[in-house]
Amino acid sequence: MNEKRHMGLRTLNRISNTTIYILLIIISIIWLLPFIFIVLQSFRVESTYQVGYVIPHEWGWQNYINLWNSDFKRWYLNTFIIALAAAVFITIIQLCMSYTLSRFRFKLRGPLMRFMLILGMFPGMLTMIILYRVLSDLGLTQANAVPGLILVSVASSGMGYYVSKGFFDTIPKSLDEAARVDGATRFQVLYKIILPLAKPIVIYTILTAFMGPWGDFVFARYVAFGTSSGYNVAVGMYSWLTNDQIARMYTTFCAGGVIVAVPVTILFLCLQKYYVEGVTGGAVKG
């Protein structure tokens, strides 16, 4: 009798596991297929528009050659520069901000955090118009959009302190106190104790800051409007999919997508662990 129950449990488990495997396989296919398609179509040379099949009839590098001959190089370089600068400066600014708000109890801390919470409720797009005018007064639009975009994205990045503050909050405060009793200044506490412990969140911040600009679209488009040399990849490649260009540029877009996605994805997969840690911590802390 007992034996029978046991067997029943096991078969039940096996059935449910099999179902899950089937579901997971379907999910994986759904999630991967578009990317497989994009890669396959980037090698299709017999036509440049959208077609009703996936496997190219003729394979070739023509789309990548087109890419090389277009402004894509410039866009790619632009985006890369923005991403690098953002990774450096945004990381510094966000760490300053989040460390301070996690560790110091100064008089304006509460009001400051509430103030930023309220600021965050305004749609960021609202400020686009004026930021554009300010940048254009500074000569940082159109062809010079790159420094302009860096400036704007770095300047407001202090608002995104939540995730890393959540991480800093998990480092016990008594470590700071012990170090201060041991004779460290606040700066030494940060430099010698907290930063070595905060490696995961530093990497997370660098990673997200670096990845952000690759998908940055609206503001980049607004700032560089009409001047191809100021585009980033997102803005540039978007123009290939407009109704008048798509028939000519669709496969080139696919090739460009591959070139953009591959390095970022590899970098991301290497640092996946830290990303997961940051994302989880941030969501829990809210």
Binding site: S16, L24, S28, I30, W31, L32, P34, F35, F37, I38, Q50, G52, Y53, I93, C96, M97, T100, R103, F106, I118, L119, M121, F122, P123, M125, L126, T127, I129, I130, V134, A155, S156, M159, T185, R186, F187, M211, G215, F217, V218, Y222, A234, M237, Y238, L241, I246, F253, C254, A261, V264, T265, F268, L269, Y275, V276, V279, T280, A283, V284, G286
Partner: protein
């Protein structure tokens, strides 16, 4: 409304309990709002009292202070310099010199024009050299408003600094009177990496936020009270000027729009409703499906956990504009899906993924699930693994089946922990420009709403509408600004209500 004690509540039937909870929730809303106003009033009162106290303190400092202090009221930093605190003194003095210089050279000018936003627009004047009429530009409303706001910021900063300067003198006098030594410049520098390290760390980020977020928001909020648009750009054609609440009237009035279509308020209402539906569905479909996938991968006995996770995570890494644009085109009229299905002979006509309003809305939500699940899977995996295993063990001993375990343990735990995240995610989805804009651009167009600014479509959110207004032919900045303020109001209201009922904030310790 009748209030039940805990024991009375426990005797209610299930339906009554739910009714009671819902009742008391809605019953609590007016009180919460009243509480908010009371809080605001108290805040105002406190602010008023603080100002009075500060003024009293300033007067007292002047009356009781020595001559060094008294001179400091006019020449900032004098007291510090006279007492041997060179660095502080010089900084105060420098600030005062810069401020006065700025006000004389430019600030006064901008400030005087601020009430009118400029008197003289561009004029056509005879040019002797070129022997023709050319346009001569005069006032620039945009600059007047911008620099006017900046000047006001600067004045506030100056008043604050002046107050600090006065307070410094008072404190210095006290310290000297008690026979102690004042901190020298060297101590001041050292304290920047120690006692006042937080100020050092915050200086740069806060400057950035003030200049590139706060100032623009103040500016744009002010724009809502002007007639700034493409035809009144304040410089090369007409000046723009203050119009009071007219723009709010336009947006919220029921009269028909200029194009003969439906009124602005109807358009606004339609878009708002869709925005809320979208935010709700986008947030919760992703949340539950993402949690489901995470639970499948986490289940005991499932192998290759890492591989499944990596497959999904990979899609997080690929920049959204690529995946969204590509998938968007896949579902287009002549896109991969339609063409393939027609090649296979399954359909004769292309499916109207982006052409039919209902199809488009559903497609957007489904594709958003595709975009969002990996991310949610990541978030929930970590939390799921943190749920103490003994909770499940005890539930199993109590006789709970898998569904009951999920319903009674997993879900409450998850909702509790991710409550704040859900709220941010909801408001984030309300403003999810990328997904909508890159997939549909707001299409298909809503003909009834064509009277409103921008060509409004059935999948447009408030935020994409705002974008269209801004970049549209008429560039009705003032209207964009009003819409932006409305978005803020909606988001703030939702946050306020949710924050007041969210258990994670009310009973922070329950699950720790």
């Amino acid at each position: 409304m009748k209030h039940y004690s805990d024991l009375e509540f426990l005797r209610l039937s299930k339906g009554q309990r739910i009714g009671y909870k819902i009742g008391s929730f809605f019953y609590g809303i007016p009180r919460a709002i009243a509480g908010l106003f009371i809080k605001l009033w108290n805040l105002l009162k406190a602010a008023g009292l603080t100002v009075v106290r500060e003024i009293q303190d300033i007067c007292a400092t002047f009356v009781k202070g020595d001559w060094k202090t008294k001179i400091s009221f006019v020449i900032m930093g004098f007291g510090s310099l006279a007492r041997g605190q060179a660095l502080r003194g010089l900084l105060f003095l420098l600030f005062e010199v810069v401020f006065i210089g700025y006000m004389v050279v430019a600030g006064g000018h901008w400030l005087s024009l601020l009430p009118s936003l400029g008197k003289l627009g561009p004029t056509s004047e005879y040019n002797l050299v070129l022997d023709t009429y050319t346009t001569v530009y005069h006032d620039n409303s945009f600059k007047i408003l911008l620099y006017g706001v900046l000047t006001i910021f600067f004045i506030i900063a100056f008043i604050y600094t002046w107050r600090v300067n006065v307070k410094q003198n008072k404190i210095s006098e006290q310290i000297l009177r008690s026979g102690k030594k004042l901190k020298g410049s060297k101590d001041d520098l050292r304290s920047m990496v120690d006692e006042n390290f937080h100020a050092t760390l915050l200086a740069l980020p806060m400057t950035g936020i003030m200049v590139f977020t706060v100032m623009p928001i103040v500016f744009m909020v002010l724009v809502a009270f002007t007639n700034y648009d493409g035809a009144h750009n304040g410089f090369s054609n007409n000046l723009f000027t203050w119009v009071g609440l007219d723009n709010f009237n336009t947006l919220l009035s029921w009269s028909a729009g200029s194009g003969g279509g439906q009124s602005y308020s109807a358009t606004f209402g339609e878009i708002l409703v869709w925005t809320l539906i979208w935010a709700f569905l986008a947030t919760f479909t992703n949340y539950f499906l993402g949690m489901g996938v995470a639970m499948m991968i986490n289940k005991k006995g499932i192998r290759l956990k890492k591989m499944w996770r990596t497959i999904l995570v990979m899609t997080v890494a690929i920049p959204q504009f690529i995946s969204l644009l590509y998938v968007g085109k896949m579902f287009a009229r002549n896109g991969l899906i339609n063409l393939s299905l027609m090649n296979l002979g399954w359909i004769k006509e292309p499916l109207p993924f982006w052409e039919d309003p209902t199809w488009a809305r559903i497609s957007v939500i489904v594709i958003n699930i595709w975009v969002g699940i990996p991310y949610l899977m990541l978030i929930t995996t970590g939390i799921l693994m943190n749920i103490p295993a003994d909770l499940y063990e005890s539930a199993r001993i109590d006789g709970a089946n898998a569904w009951q375990q999920y319903r009674k343990i997993t879900l409450p735990y998850m909702l509790f922990i991710t409550g704040p995240y859900l709220l941010t995610s909801f408001t984030g989805n309300m403003n999810n420009f990328n997904v909508i804009y890159l997939l549909t651009g707001g299409a298909p167009t809503n003909p009834a709403a064509s009277g409103a600014a921008g060509s409004v479509g059935y999948t447009d959110l408030l935020i994409t509408w705002l974008f269209k207004i801004t970049t549209g032919a008429e560039s009705q900045y003032y209207l964009a600004s009003v819409v932006g303020i409305m978005v803020f109001v909606v988001v703030a209201l939702i946050s306020l209500v949710v924050y007041n009922v969210l258990p994670s904030i009310k009973n922070e310790e329950d699950y720790q």
